[in-house]
């Protein structure tokens, strides 16, 4: 009963950290720097949000599977197989949750008054220092909102995880896959308990975020 909960939280936390760094990095790159093929990069980043999770899972399987480019490299070089391990759960959750982090970070960076960034520039800051000292700190609420939504999405990830990591109890079974399995084998009580945990936890998370953001807006400033 508790194994899927512990694994889900562990996977969601690690996936959130990965999606945070990647999301912020790409949002910075695509909003603040000149990058060739910007629209193509952006579309690729958003794609996991639009595609059905089973397709994302299938594509990940093709990349991280034994014969996939990354999967084969990891197996040949380090003797590591990713598919059907908890690491696969992290990869699936990170990829599916990344668009949320990216979109929130991008929106937050774009909402910062451009004159602050120009002022920092005229005061001698390099583009990266402008970002580090002005843009990023002023994007706080948007970034926090992105982190919370990314965590919630990673926690609830089902389709891609099932394709890439399977549903191995005690090894790759997360809360959503455990609920699915419990329903299939007729363990309604277990499914209900896990569903209740997910609903309460997600509600608390989003409710807490909204309250915090309201408080921040009311106070004015970050």
């Amino acid at each position: 009963m508790f194994e899927p909960i512990i694994l889900s939280v562990k996977v969601a936390l690690i996936a959130t950290v990965i999606a945070f760094f990647l999301g912020v990095f790409f949002a910075y790159l695509l909003t603040k720097r000149k990058v060739p093929g910007k629209n193509i990069w952006e579309t690729i980043l958003i794609l996991p949000m639009i595609l059905p999770p089973s397709i994302v899972g299938y594509l990940l399987l093709k990349v991280f599977g034994k014969r996939g480019p990354i999967g084969a490299f990891l197996l040949d070089t380090f003797g590591v197989q990713v598919v059907f391990t908890w690491v696969a759960c992290v990869i699936a959750a990170s990829v599916v949750a990344l668009p949320l982090m990216y979109q929130n970070a991008k929106g937050a960076f774009q909402s910062v008054d451009h004159s602050y960034e120009l002022a920092a520039k005229t005061l001698g800051s390099s583009p990266f220092k402008v970002f580090r000292t002005v843009t990023f700190p002023l994007s706080g609420p948007g970034i926090v909102s992105g982190i919370v939504l990314t965590f919630a999405r990673a926690l609830g990830e089902f389709g891609a995880t099932l394709m890439l990591a399977g549903n191995i109890p005690g090894k790759t079974q997360t809360i959503p896959t455990a609920i699915y399995y419990a329903v299939v084998v007729g363990k309604d009580e277990k499914a209900s308990a896990l569903v209740a945990i997910m609903v309460v936890f997600s509600f608390a998370l989003v409710f807490g975020l909204n309250m915090w953001l309201k408080k921040k807006n009311h106070k004015g400033g970050w």
């Binding site: 008054d113 004159s115 602050y116 120009l118 002022a119 920092a120 520039k121 005229t122 005061l123 001698g124 800051s125 390099s126 220092k129 000292t133 002005v134 700190p137 002023l138 004015g220 400033g221 970050w222």
Partner: protein
């Protein structure tokens, strides 16, 4: 010595085409909204790139279309006071003033943190801001914000100071007080300064030299 600039830039409704030079004095560029005043300052600061022309400060070329020179804004050492002051809302008054100082290589190498704080403290004292040092820059009045922005732009000892309608965000009561203060402050400036305004009174009060701009050209 001094600053000289020749700028040409195609804008939406007209072409900006100006040429001027100043010494250690205050040039007022007067003109109605949309005449191209801020674009001149942005070109000088390196925020906007002119299509053609040349900018030199103390014989150092900052921009030259023909020689393909375009020094980025962060390396021009030009103080810029923005119309909305653009004080960093995530920092205190003191942090705002120290921001540019910390970036300057000559200070970075030689000065200790204590020396930086001392110099920022001196600047705050000169502009009567010492009592606001630890206040958030959002929590001060319009007149105080203007002085903080001025201190922040001045503290790095820029070779050119740009003031983009520095009084336009102030109410009438504050304005007359700040006018007096600025007139005194101006005497101690001793660097080339360009102030843009659409208020003729400010030209009369502060200008050592003045030009009027209309649709991108000097009248």
């Amino acid at each position: 010595m001094g600053v000289s600039f020749k700028l040409f830039k195609k804008l939406n409704y007209f072409d900006l085409d100006v040429e001027f030079s100043i010494e250690n004095e205050l040039l007022v560029i007067e003109g109605s909204s949309g005449a191209g005043k801020t674009t001149i300052l942005n070109c000088l600061a390196g925020i906007v790139t002119a299509d053609e022309g040349k900018i030199t400060i103390d014989e150092k070329v900052l921009f030259s279309h023909t020689d393909k020179v375009n020094i980025p804004a962060e390396k021009r050492n030009i103080g810029y006071l923005f119309q909305n002051y653009a004080l960093f809302p995530n920092m205190t008054v003191k942090q705002n003033i120290l921001y540019g100082l910390k970036n300057k290589r000559e200070y970075k190498k030689k000065a200790t943190r204590k020396e930086l704080l001392e110099y920022a403290g001196y600047m705050m004292e000169t502009l009567g801001l010492s009592h606001l040092a630890d206040k958030n820059s959002n929590a001060i009045s319009g007149g105080e914000k203007q002085r903080v922005a001025l201190a922040r732009a001045m503290v790095t000892r820029p070779s050119l100071l740009l003031l983009d309608e520095p009084f336009s965000a102030l109410d009438e009561n504050t304005k007359s007080k700040i006018y007096d203060e600025f007139r005194d402050f101006k005497e101690s400036l001793n660097i080339p300064t360009i102030l843009i305004t659409h208020n003729h009174r400010e030209t009369q009060l502060f200008a050592d030299k003045n030009i009027t701009l209309k649709e991108g050209r000097i009248l």
